[in-house]
Chain length 231, copies 2
DNA sequence: TTTTTTAATTGTCAAATTAACACTTACATT
DNA sequence: AATGTAAGTGTTAATTTGACAATTAAAAAA
């Protein structure tokens, strides 16, 4: 039974990598850190494990604290544990990635944290190893999205084909022929066309679609193929 | 700065999920636990973080301790942190997966641990949440292997096409037509045929192949397609 | 030596999928 | 009524797939 000081007993943090698709761009939500050291520097939203919490529970708590949202898609990405990653105290951090629909929380953004959406190409200097966390999360997102139709979590209930295409292009850092893209996407049988148009981005307007809950037997390889070259 | 007891300070363990392809079968290496509680029960090989070690370093140390091997392919899978996962003491465990060539270490197996290879379909009762770890590792391996030609880490330098096919079939829990399989695999340009045969498994003998280090521009979609239906 | 046995190796073809490519449509604005 | 803009759609050649079975190499047996 390990009692000797040979074994370390670090603090355990969770950090949340919150992805959103805002203004047709893939972004991450960052906050101004409220603790010393590095107070007021940009960082991921995080917190320490408390009481009997598991990391999953802590991450859900932290996400709710910032965004007010619950029941969000969230997955553990990676644990960071370098000795001096936090200069103040030995701390390991379990990083989670969540995909949120920005339209759902915009209003209840907790102003205490001065949260701000940043384009992935425009991340400010971050504390500790948080930049590395973002890189890991981005890689995770690519691979996850290549194997599962997960990016819809980032869109509102109703979305248009050009919006999804834009999102896929952002995630995979590639561009796709729109004729081929929509053919493949609709061929997956995942979507259901609505009788309503989004008129914001064009005069003609683009039809809204919804995820079709009924179908589980989609052809996802169809989407997968999009990702090949960028993986 | 967090000093109050509100925040937990658990022990941090690493557990190593060691995959091997032994006797044409995908297996994991388990040991008989040497610590109380649950002494002599089967478990993954693990250890606690010590001193200034990162989890990556600790995992490499633990792997070497058991197998004598260094420089092995190893990746962090997931961190387990449920409150009561270890009944004796609050412990979180960072699980790593490594793929080893069983022929390379067979000899130096550390007898102190009574290590044994187990088929995935025949895992004994394990301590704590180690069965869940194996399930997570298996899922990881499938997804990883679908996106990257990683399974060669499990084979010796020289291997035959029937061997690789068997391995892929084990990992994806599927079976493939051998004509199509070899056409696709060789089409990837990853392999280099040797002028030497493995005569162990047939009278005719099967030609050995090697990974061709030179080519980075393989068509991996070719392998990926194999995995579709089993993901 | 010949025959048998066993697993490795190889090829074809129809069907499906892909990638490349550009014109038409709907609608608001002028 | 004309214009501008982004949405929406179709064809074709080339490639890839999946389904399918005969041949070959070599050891073992007769």
């Amino acid at each position: 039974m390990p009692q000797p000081s040979k074994y370390i007993r670090p603090l355990v943090a969770v950090d949340c990598l919150i992805f959103g698709f805002e203004n047709q761009t893939l972004k991450v939500l960052l906050i101004k850190r409220k603790l010393e050291p590095y107070q007021n520097e940009w960082s991921l939203m995080g917190g320490f494990l408390e009481g009997k919490e598991s990391a999953d529970e802590a991450a859900a708590r932290v996400l709710k604290e910032l965004t007010g949202l619950e029941g969000i898609f969230m997955e553990q990405i990676k644990t960071f544990s370098k000795f001096d990653r936090d200069p103040a105290e030995r701390t390991i951090s379990i990083v989670y990635s969540s995909l949120i629909d920005v339209t759902k929380f915009e209003a209840q953004l907790n102003h205490a944290y001065e949260a701000h959406w940043f384009k992935l190409s425009d991340i400010p200097k971050l504390i500790f190893d948080h930049e590395e966390m973002i890189a890991a999360g981005r890689d995770y997102l690519k691979k996850k999205a290549a194997l599962q139709p997960i990016l819809f979590e980032l869109l509102a209930e109703k979305f248009t084909i050009p919006q999804i295409q834009q999102l896929y292009e952002e995630v995979f850092e590639a561009s796709f022929d729109k004729r081929n893209f929509s053919r493949k996407l609709l061929g997956s049988k995942l979507l259901h066309k609505l009788n309503e148009k989004d008129k914001l981005s064009s005069k003609k307007g683009a039809f809204y679609y919804q995820l079709d809950k009924k179908t589980n037997h989609y052809n996802f390889n169809v989407l997968l193929n999009l990702a090949y070259s960028s993986l």
